[in-house]
């Protein structure tokens, strides 16, 4: 027997190539005869396209020019409602909306040409905030500006208020957040009526792009081929928008007959692609004097931007997480995704949950203060326990002990002793310190019946030498897909880690294992890899493999099998865990197969001279099932916490008439190496029976808790209660002055 690979930090599968500069990202590829593409975009938030003018100084005959009328199939990016055009035809609905495409062999001339096209717009009224959109004076989408409306009901909220000892209300808002993967978006395409369309690029979801291009070109499955190149970060930002860029590159390639590369520069990437949805949440919470939650009424609204894209799904996740990991007999959540005249907001790690959890975890501190209870004690009295039900009525069947996670987090952070010391010392000091915490959960995999509908497939293949290849469309974007899927396959088959390879995600070769999103890759796809590998092993056992064979025995069996029967390949299909049921109409039932659970504690200092807040120490305790790879898992938590620190304190998208006014890394600031605190990561492991080797999802979880924990800590340090993200020094200063005024 070889030593177990699970729980062992093997070297990252593609690590060596990344460390030596050999790994090839899309901008590193160059094809024979390749030319470059650029996008001409809407200069206005909303209006009719009056004219498109071409400066006669440019030799336009040298350029490939594509307009909406050049699209062979349907002019939309196929996703949920298909309302987003690939190229605006007669109207534009947001700034930076693609209107026209250009291609040329000379990149410098291409830029000159892009500047020489003027899109003239007859303006129409536009909408720039959730409030304006809800008011409905100007309708920018559908009949009422509402993409989606959801409702969750548990118990009887209306009858609960009269029994309450205390009712606490609060309103919370969050701003947009840019994913800011360090590799900008980009695609290369070839295309012709004879061969169809092939696209290479930076993406999370090859089959999303596949679906979009089939529709756009009116081509059958086999004539569209999408290949993921090494991807320099995604975080959700490369979930849906790559379909747009792939479509543009493919249209230019189709018309020019040459390979076309489109690489966004940072300014275009920030201004034109998706961001995290801004949100507004209203809470009304009823509690008893002894600190038990009696009723929660939550109104959650997200700004979807100008087109629907993924907003209904983001809303869904935000809604389901809005009441958090607490037991409350009466819950009403109403939620809406509304339209504005900003570029569509989209997927970003956490997918709606960080917004609604921010509101909830600030509200929990507010209620605790109103009750005169410590934040930890109030939460402790209301934690969900095994056998109790969530807001959607899901009975928690797994063994979960949130109080134990809380205890561990309090102990590791020295919460109470520090809180007491800071309270004594703060009055005298220029630097005020405080502690804050957040408790939260995050559902792994697609919501409700989503995984059933996806019906993901994975294949595992063995060569005559016993070498294994995993075929899946799940992508590596830094989070470790290649490594953990390899560990799972190698462990299942009892072969060395080095014997397993991952096929490049290429829709011409790999089956659809679903999109690489929603904390589903390890838990759902990993499980499929495990069962395909088991299927393969089963086949070999029936063909002479001994049950305790060494890797050499395994290789021998493969050799014998392939000699007699040819290709050795096993396939697995998604099957839902038993007893999971979900009602999409009533939003009731098992929203997720399982959840990851966490308590985070932030220690924050605030300089009263500048109102700058700084996270000094951070403790993240979580239960994510079995940890497959400790170093990668820790990297997921630390990276997520760092992004969430940016969300909490620094990352401020400045909007001017629907356009990002600070679309530069210099002015949209993320944490640097000088800004991150020590982050202590602690895993409590409770193996999940339906995940591979007991693993659950992990990727999004760490995005949810830090922002409210940090703002809770700021309040504990300064007494200033902030209800909006980001908590910039300007916001804190303004709030302080209000208190003093």
């Amino acid at each position: 027997m070889v030593q177990s690979l699970i729980g062992v930090s093997v070297p990252r599968k593609e690590g060596r190539d990344k460390l030596t500069g050999k790994a090839l990202y899309v901008d590193d590829l160059r094809f024979e005869g390749m030319i470059y593409g650029a996008t001409v975009r809407s200069p206005a938030p909303r209006g009719r396209i009056k004219a498109i003018r071409f400066d006669p100084q440019i030799s336009w005959a040298e350029f490939t020019i594509v307009r909406a009328s050049d699209i062979p199939g349907a002019n939309h990016i196929a996703l949920i409602t298909n309302d987003q055009p690939c190229l605006a035809d007669s109207v534009v609905n947001h700034p930076e909306e693609p209107v026209l495409l250009l291609a040329h062999p000379d990149r410098y001339l291409l830029e000159e040409a892009r500047r020489a096209v003027t899109v003239e717009i007859d303006p129409l009224p536009a909408v720039f905030s959730i409030e304006e959109s809800l008011r409905g004076d100007t309708i920018v989408w559908g009949d009422d500006n509402v993409f989606q409306k959801l409702g969750v009901e548990k118990g009887n909220v209306d009858s609960a208020w009269s029994d309450a000892d205390l009712i606490v209300e609060g309103e919370y808002t969050t701003g947009a957040q840019e994913q800011l993967y360090i590799e900008p978006q980009g695609m290369i395409a070839t295309g012709s009526a004879e061969w169809g369309v092939t696209v290479w690029g930076s993406m999370q979801c090859p089959y999303y792009v596949h679906k979009a291009l089939k529709t756009l070109f009116g081509l059958p499955d086999e004539k569209v081929r999408i290949i993921q190149t090494e991807t320099g970060g995604g975080f959700g930002g490369k979930e849906e928008y790559p379909s747009m860029i792939a479509a543009h590159a493919a249209l230019l390639a189709w018309k020019s007959g040459q390979p076309v590369k489109i690489i966004y520069d940072r300014a275009e990437d920030m201004a034109a692609t998706t961001k995290r949805h801004p949100s507004r949440t209203r809470h009304r919470t009823a509690v008893s004097r002894d600190g038990k939650l009696l009723a929660m009424e939550i109104d959650f609204v997200i700004d979807g931007g100008a087109y629907c894209t993924l907003s209904p799904v983001v809303l869904s996740r935000g809604t389901i997480h809005a009441a958090g990991p607490y037991q409350c007999p009466n819950v009403r959540i109403t939620s809406r995704a509304v339209a504005t005249s900003a570029p569509p907001h989209g997927a970003f790690r956490g997918f709606g949950a960080p917004q609604s959890i921010f509101a909830l975890e600030r509200q929990m501190d507010k209620v605790a203060a109103a009750l005169g209870l410590e934040p930890d004690e109030f939460r402790r009295r209301n934690f969900l326990k095994t056998g109790e039900t969530t807001a959607t009525g899901q009975v928690i069947r797994e063994e979960i002990d949130l109080a134990a996670l809380l205890d561990r987090a309090l102990r590791e952070s020295d919460y109470h002793a520090k809180q007491a010391r800071f309270a004594r010392e703060n009055g005298r000091n220029r630097i005020r310190r405080g502690m804050g915490l957040a408790a939260f959960f995050h559902g792994a995999g697609f919501t409700g019946s989503g995984e059933r509908n996806l019906a993901s497939v994975v294949e595992v293949e063995a060569t005559a030498e016993g070498r294994i290849r995993i075929l899946a469309s799940s992508t590596e974007m830094g989070q470790g897909t290649n490594t953990i899927l390899t560990q799972i396959a190698a462990e299942t088959l009892g072969v060395p880690y080095e014997w397993v390879a991952i096929a490049q995600p290429d829709t011409g070769e790999v089956p659809n294992s679903g999109p690489t999103v929603a904390s589903r890759t390890c838990m759902v796809v990993g499980r499929l890899v495990e069962s395909a590998a088991l299927g393969l092993k089963q086949t070999l056992l029936g063909a002479g493999l001994g049950s305790d064979d060494s890797p050499e025995g395994f290789a021998r069996a493969c050799r014998e099998y392939t000699a007699r029967r040819g290709v050795l390949r096993a396939r697995s299909h998604y099957e839902a865990p038993p007893g999971v049921s979900w009602d999409d109409e009533k939003y009731q039932g098992d929203a997720y197969g399982t959840y990851a659970w966490a308590v985070h504690v932030a220690e924050v200092s605030v300089d009263t001279v500048t109102c700058e807040a700084s996270v000094e120490d951070f403790v993240a305790v979580q239960e994510v099932g079995r940890v497959i790879h400790p170093v990668l898992a820790r990297g997921q938590i630390e990276g997520g916490v760092a992004q969430a620190i940016g969300y909490a304190l620094y990352e401020n998208v400045v909007w001017r008439d629907g356009r990002m006014a600070n679309a530069q890394m210099t002015n949209y600031i993320i944490p640097t190496a000088a800004d991150v605190p020590p982050i202590r990561v602690i895993f409590e492991e409770r193996p999940y029976p339906y995940g591979p080797m007991g693993a659950k999802g992990i990727g999004e979880l760490p995005m949810d808790g830090p922002a409210p924990a940090i703002l809770n800590a700021i309040e504990s340090a300064t007494g200033i209660s902030l209800a909006s993200l980001p908590a910039t020094p300007e916001a804190l200063m303004a709030a302080l002055e209000q208190v003093h005024a």
Partner: protein, 162 residues
């Protein structure tokens, strides 16, 4: 306006070519010299993905015009990759989880090499300062700090954490 002749040494190899004088060294390296390990993340000297050594000093190659690199010695990630003396850095990054998506990694390695070349035993504050010009969106930096500290100390191989 014409291109100008540029002669420089890249990773120890002499190269001569014509370039626009204001062309970014980054584009020269990636396109003219075909060394794509140097990455572009922002084009404004903010992210450090395009870091190279220019006459031994760390620079953002997106902010250096070709003309100013005439006669210079340039070291890119491909040059570092060939040098055995930096095996320890690569191993530490691999063991500690210092690379995730990999796009900032070449720049991080260059910044690390630049630091360790001057200060083989840096404190955490030194490491933070030395890497502050290289943005990473994946790791939260802590795995990288550990990797740099380990590479500096030349620790024996083994599990990085615990």
């Amino acid at each position: 306006m014409p291109k100008v002749p540029i002669a420089l040494s890249v990773n120890g190899e002499r190269r001569a070519f014509a370039a626009w004088p204001m062309a970014r060294l980054l584009d020269v390296i990636r396109q003219e010299l075909g060394l794509t390990g140097t990455k572009e993340g922002c084009g404004e000297g903010e992210c450090g993905a395009c870091s190279v050594l220019l006459d031994g000093r760390l620079v953002n190659s997106c902010l250096v015009p070709a003309r100013q690199a005439d006669g210079a010695e340039i070291t890119t990630i491909e040059g570092i990759a060939r040098r055995r003396e930096w095996d320890g850095v690569r191993k530490a990054f691999l063991d500690c989880g210092g690379a995730q998506c990999g796009i900032c990694t070449p720049g991080m390695i260059l910044a690390t090499v630049s630091l360790l070349g001057q200060n083989p035993n840096p404190s955490e504050a030194d490491v933070r300062r030395a890497l502050a010009g290289n943005l990473c969106r994946c790791t939260g930096y802590l795995r990288i700090f550990e990797a740099v500290a380990r590479a500096g100390r030349r620790n024996p191989p083994g599990e990085c954490l615990q």
